[in-house]
């Protein structure tokens, strides 16, 4: 081979290599939560953003989706490996601390505070810095059968039976109340009354359905009960406070209900889907469940047995008030983003009122302030309740956004389900949880 031919070949190879190496055009890649309403909402938001005249071709948004199974583990591995496959990634309240080392704080639009409110913005904060836009909020509702409760409230004989049952199981005579006035004891008494194992005349097989599978998300559903009695993960000095009367009360209430048969025997393997199926069968009177279930449980098409007679309110109250555990999904900035400026611009826009309304109108679940939510109230009445409950009753436990928050929920799931299933005592469960949390949150 002559030198000239070698040179020519080399030049061609270099040209091909440079063509392959250069991207067709720069873009902002957004990694979203696949399937479900979040994906539909994100697609609509991205389309709106890309159609804006002031967004250059270099900064158009492209979407990327992993499978839901193992999503957070895969994201963790990708972020830790310094992936540049996405510029903006999904973020959850309980995982901010875990991903924060691989992400950058973001600056939201000037409208963000008036669109979401301080309480909701905290779901995307870690160590005082904002790491994302809170696009979807999850909290819990108390779903109940209004037909059953109304019948109970009208029937004197039923009220007497109710008092008898509450005295036997809770040690005090209680009267049936409307669910808006329920304390956790009222909820427990109602659940027992509507349980055939306790009250053979009950129209439903079970009074409630508890999600007791050893799963971190089930612990989120549980937290609002002890929280109403003043529970927190740790005090301001960082001391773990889980071995408390408040947690004791919550754990004992669940165990009493499970042991009495007020929740299906297989509840220890139940999570979101199983609980919904149980409630939708018409054999359950009330349950605490994620707000996302509203569209399913309150629809006569999707849940013919209960859709028209189901109401959703905030979870019951305790001595410290009424609480609902909130956590958000949102979008933050990958530290290794290839198009960081484009990503920042998209995140800023995503926190604007325009984006929030597009997101809300397309199945998303942003918790919006009363002024903003009125603009979509006709199309999304559920968002009115979401925003109201988040503002009034929403809370995040101390340490709930820390790097080990997920591990804390995992630990609680293991220890608490161990107690509920009768494999260990309450004292051991609380002692083990406190010790584990001390190691995790030190």
């Amino acid at each position: 081979m002559t030198f000239a031919r070698m040179k020519k070949g080399g030049l061609i190879a270099a040209a091909i290599a440079s063509l392959l190496a250069a991207p067709a055009f720069a873009k902002v890649t957004v990694l979203g939560w696949p399937g479900g309403p979040e994906e539909a909402a994100l697609r609509a938001a991205a389309d709106t953003y890309n159609a804006k005249s002031d967004v250059s071709d270099d900064n158009k948004v492209e979407l990327l989706f992993f499978n839901r199974d193992g999503f957070w583990d895969k994201l963790q591995a990708d972020l830790a490996a310094g992936s540049t496959a996405f510029d903006v990634n999904l973020l959850a309240t309980y995982s901010i601390g875990r991903y924060a080392p691989f992400m950058e704080p973001v600056t939201l639009s000037d409208e963000a505070k008036s669109v979401y409110g301080d309480q909701v913005l905290t779901t995307m904060q870690y160590e005082g810095e904002q790491f994302g836009v809170p696009t979807d909020l999850s909290l819990h509702f108390m779903y109940y059968r209004k037909d059953l409760i109304e019948a109970l409230l009208k029937d004197d004989a039923a009220k007497a039976r109710f008092a008898e049952i509450s005295e036997k199981h809770l040690g005090k005579k209680l009267e049936p109340k409307t669910p808006d006035e329920w304390t956790w004891d009222d909820y427990a008494a109602t659940a027992l009354y509507f349980t055939q194992a306790v009250n053979p005349d009950s129209p439903t097989r079970y009074g409630t359905v508890l999600q007791l599978k050893n799963l971190l998300f089930n612990m989120m559903v549980f937290q609002s009960l002890p929280r109403a009695y003043g529970a927190n993960w740790m005090d301001d000095a960082g001391k773990i406070t889980v071995d408390s009367e408040a947690y004791r009360k919550g754990l004992e209430t669940y165990k009493m209900l499970y042991d009495a048969g007020a929740s299906p025997r297989d509840s220890l393997s139940y999570e979101y889907a199983e609980a919904n199926a149980a409630y939708a069968s018409g054999q359950v009177a009330a349950m605490v469940q994620w707000n996302a279930a509203a569209s399913e449980l309150m629809s006569k098409d999707k849940s013919p047995a209960v859709g028209e007679v189901t109401e959703a309110i905030a979870p019951p109250a305790g001595p410290e008030g009424r609480f609902t555990h909130i956590h958000g999904l949102g979008f933050g900035l990958n530290k290794n983003a290839a198009n960081k400026e484009g990503a920042k611009a998209f995140i800023s826009w995503l926190s604007s009122k325009e984006a929030a309304l597009v997101y809300a109108r397309n199945s998303g679940a942003p918790a919006l302030t009363p002024d903003v939510v009125t603009e979509v109230a006709a199309e999304r009445p559920d968002l009115v309740k979401l925003g109201e409950f988040a503002g009034k009753y929403g809370y995040v436990m101390n340490g709930g956004t820390s790097a080990k928050a997920l591990s804390v929920y995992e630990l609680q799931a293991k220890e608490f389900t161990g107690y509920w299933s009768g494999q260990q005592s309450l004292d051991d469960a609380l002692k083990n949880t406190e010790k584990g949390m001390s190691d995790l949150l030190k």
């Binding site: 050893n214 799963l215 299906p264 025997r265 297989d266 220890l268 389900t417």
Partner: protein, 295 residues
Amino acid sequence: MTTKTHRSPVSEFRLLTIPLVVFLLVFLGFPAIVNLVYSVSEVSFETLRRPEITGFGNFAAVWSDAAFWRASWFSFRFGLLTAVLECALGLFLAIFLAPLLERRSWLMAILMLPLMVAPALVGLMYRLVLHEFAGPVPYYLWAWFGASLSFLGPGSAFWTLIVVETLQWTPFAFLLFYMAYQAIPREIIEASSMDGARYHHRLWYIELPLMTPTIVVALLIRFIDGFRVFDNVYVLTGSGPGGSTASLSIYIYEAFFKQGAIGKAVAASVILFAASFAVLYGLNAIAARRKGATR
């Protein structure tokens, strides 16, 4: 004039094995070394590239962790019980159905169907089938008896998992045994019949001894598969209330991903590797001794 180079068979062998050696070094050796380093290090997702070697603390943590021993005991019991049940059922079916299958070989395809389903999907399927309000089994139990069993409750979850695993993998054992049964020379069977051997004598003194090597291999394969179970158990019950249905694989997975205790998870897998190696080495030694004794 050309010179022809002759290589010895040994050097040719070495040359040809280079790709395999490189493959093993890259895909097995490197991860093994990394794992050994992680097992004696303080390491997290943030420090994967710069683990801090801290000694044998991870091994001590695993060794003193009641959950590790509980998971080991679960895996051992699960592996042993499912292996025995699958082999017993597979053997029974292989012998019982052999005459039928000789005439209707297409039935084999139906019997093999459970093997075609991914274990995670099997878990998902039974999660639905056994659900009190959506599943057909509890539905009919309620309809006929006014009550239903708690299939996945604390007292029954283990046995439900055993049944699910056995139903899926019995066809595998059946396939091996059927092939071994078919391979028994017909002349031996005919000769024993002519000598007046009855059916159970033939089974006990001729067929089963001839099938013994296959039975041992099937038991071993099924035990290993059952011991390392993950998919269907994880989908059906997770690690169970209080970790009661956590197998060793689930224990390691949860330590690694859920707790972020990478060093501890890797230390557990190193202990598992060492234990497996010791058991297999022991079995190999016993087999070699028996082979020597029969010569």
